[in-house]
Symmetry: D2
Subunit: 308 residues, 4 copies
């Protein structure tokens, strides 16, 4: 791929340029002040390849709030420890349309539909707490080591802002607790959940950190975080459940496993090739970056690097 | 792949042997007599490669009722004609759990969630009728040409049996008609729908017929049924929606685009490599072949040929 | 009550005058042309007392399409025959909000929630067919005898118009048939259902016809259609389920058992006193006559004749 | 009614005797230890008449946990202050079947369906807090004054037990808070809610306390808690929403406005005549006292004192 380096750099630059105007079709998340103040027109894109190259374009070195992208890493950490036993606590099916979230929790007796809806991510945090006692710290450690950026941390302004707007997550946590599907206290789970969503990273840092998913589970230091089979499984859940209620649309347009966050980031895995991260804060109705999805769509169309 | 031929044949034989006992965990579909009489212990597996090879094991030349597998071919035919205009009539998101089917139709004003739930397949048939006037005939023509088996046909015993048990499909069709989301009459749509599900084919015929999805849209005669991009899109919908309410589980275990039918068949696409079809009539709770999913799981684990 | 006669007449006249302007807040049902052409400003009110008096005001002698009001009479006829065995086929609980209709049918395996939602009324018609072979004819006979108007009949223009817009009812009927909760054919049930909703009657005719519900089950000829206990039971279902999704609001404002129809009529029962019918074609969002509910509210507030 | 006194006493004794065996068909609430230890075979019945008589039979002077019966009194207190403005915060329609509770909250943007489902009762408590700053204290004051029993109080063992099992109510409260439909803090609302459900009273005390609902809003001291119209309105909500998901069945069998609690009590209003309270701890599937409903059914059948 070194040979392709220059071409890929040109491609990223072209795509960043072409996709940026799409931001005008979206809206920056405004449910907390700390996110609402971000300039929606920013756009960055970074590709970390399995050969060790890192290419970037636009605002690819600006840190932003990773939000739900943290859930992909949390799932990997928990699956590495729990294996298939995890699936007694959370499902792995797409969630259907949004209004079902609560009724599904009720119909399925407090077992969330997948690890990426909020209820499921709370269960994953609860499992991390059971394993290490410090869910957010364990996650930070992974992100710092894989990205090589030791100063990655929680944005406390965002975390505090989320905490004071967190009635809905509190409702979900209490609801699961009523079905005995949380082991730690509701307060502790919510605290770690809020903080692990408020981690700030750049496209380049996220692309390096997620590279193990493209390398069939192998970490930066050559050890295995996941087996080949487990890495495939995380990728399959990313593809079917990683982009909220638009997973079908994302698979259709982009054709890669991916995880989005309301901070405007999207992490996409190109199995065997690399990890591609975009950031554009203006979101579509489903909560995915408008310019980001457009950029990924153009990238896979140009390269043919979809999984399909 | 010719070099791999002998090894692949051995692998198919081993997998067929190992997966067959799993049939005991399932039940043959019994909602119509014509299906209930099939021996649940049968198992066949066929692989058609993009290089033109055909390998098979077990009952791979026995014809069975393709049922919902026909929906994958119908979607390809309609997408080739309608392009993205199709998505005004039907969605492309996974359907969540089964009890939602009707409420989702209601919430979404008669637009089915995806082309593979029954309501969505009725819309696809309605589109085929608009294009050719003979939905079932057009589909038969495609299947015969791609598979090279000119005698593929509707099993009229199965078709009649379905028709007399079809109140639920009639309800769906009338419900969509009440939202003006059917152009042909309810009776005509149901007739073509029932017949196109009652087509009988073998694993080897289906594997050859589905090969265009692994060849990026290219038919047996070298012409394009679909563009490369359209083929990718059909595969993405197969992966996210192709196996009823177990699409997440199928992606997790098998990691391939696939379409199952209650006749016990599953067609899986290995993009760029081939089309793999299994048949085992005993079904799990979600309506997928128990031994079939097991065989596909073993195949992708052994070969590494998952998309992830 | 004869003594009150003059006062009641004055009251009806005052109420009709005061309630008429409320029609401006509603809309005439427009889903079929035969109903859409009615003047929304019309308003009639009739009271038949258990002593045999009939008082009326406004357009109380104009016939209109009774629509769902027929369901109250159908329920009485079926309960008289089936007794509590009826409740194996249909429930008697309020239906919650409208979008639940289909999901409730699914969750409750084809047993409609109560006899007044369309699905439940189809079951009641199916029971009438089982008893007499002619559901609509049996109902017409009851209405003619109780009201003394031998020329009451189905408005065939309305019936035909409904039939061609009946996909939703057809969906419900097929859906229940899929759960084996219809004995007659879908086509027959729908035919009788549509016709029994298209009966045309005036306020005065309906008030006389419904008097048996105020007389604890006693018909005009002194015989019992229902026992005292059965009449009480029909009234309780009218109160809890008789006005679509606004039963709670109707009970709160009016405080009487009542049944409304999208033709703009409302039949209210004053147990032990009489039967009060209003007609005003402009409907609120729930499908109840705006001026009609207003008139009934004023009537019970003035007389204190609520059941509470 | 003094003349009827002896006959009514005999009737109550006969009914208590006949209904007691029905307890065997139910189960005592066991979700908290403090309730689970009650003897399910106990049965009491008390009637307070508008003339000032009090009749009782069986365990009518034993105090039990009033649980949701407190919601009827809370509603009266809040409606007296807020009038129809209350209905911007909570609906007044029956709730359909239980699994809808949360999805309805979601569909209706945090506005509970009626004041008697838990979510709605939390809103009512929130309103009481806004009015007086001490919801539970205000309610206790009303109950003590109306019943004449100054020592009525919260059972702290029950209250503590509820509080430690209250994840579901916490979920509801946080969920409504996420829609800004709570003014006080979640913790304060839950505290007052739990305590006002844990008040202990006997049948005779409850019958006296509820008499104002039969006297069109007039309290024991002759002052008005509610206007005649407001009293009618509380009764209408009791009838359509007062007995959980069995309101239709209760209206059908008993035909009186009523409010039940999982402690086994049911308070029924006979407008213009009296207030009838039964207590039998064994509950049916809907959470209503089995022997209690049976007793009320027999009472209204014998006396004809249903509202219908």
């Amino acid at each position: 791929m070194t040979a392709n380096g220059p071409d890929l750099q040109t491609l990223l630059d072209e795509i960043t340029l072409a996709a940026r105007p799409f931001a005008a079709r979206g809206r920056v998340a405004d449910y907390i002040p700390a996110l609402a103040s971000i300039d929606g027109a920013r756009l960055g894109m970074a590709l970390a390849t399995v050969e060790g190259e890192l290419l970037g374009s636009g605002d690819f070195e600006t840190r932003f709030s990773v939000q739900s992208i943290s859930k992909a890493f949390a799932l990997a950490l928990v699956l590495a420890k729990d294996g298939d036993a995890l699936w007694r606590r959370v499902g792995r099916e797409p969630s259907g349309n949004p209004f079902n979230s609560l009724v599904q929790l009720e119909v399925e007796h407090g077992v969330p539909r997948n690890p990426f809806i909020n209820a499921g991510a709370l269960v994953v945090v609860d499992r991390m707490l059971a394993h290490t006692g410090d869910a957010c710290g364990t996650l930070l450690d992974l992100l710092r080591r894989e990205s090589g950026a030791a100063d990655i941390d929680v944005d406390l302004v965002v975390a505090r802002s989320e905490a004071t707007h967190g009635h809905r997550n509190a409702a979900l946590a209490h609801f699961m607790a009523s079905y005995a599907n949380l082991e730690s206290s509701v307060v502790t789970v919510l605290d770690h959940y809020v903080r692990h969503c408020a981690i700030a990273m750049s496209c380049s840092e996220l692309a390096r950190a997620g590279l193990f998913l493209a390398r069939h589970g192998v970490r930066a230091d050559g050890t295995h975080l996941l087996t080949r089979s487990e890495a495939k499984r995380v990728n399959s859940i990313l593809l079917t459940c990683g982009t909220y209620d638009a997973a079908g649309d994302f698979a259709y347009r982009v054709g890669l496993p991916g995880k989005s966050g309301v901070g405007g980031g999207i992490l996409a895995v190109i199995p065997g090739r690399g990890c591609l991260v975009v950031w554009g804060p203006a979101l579509d109705k489903s909560g995915n970056s408008v310019a980001g999805v457009e950029a990924l769509d153009r990238f896979t169309t140009s390269t043919g690097w979809s999984v399909f």
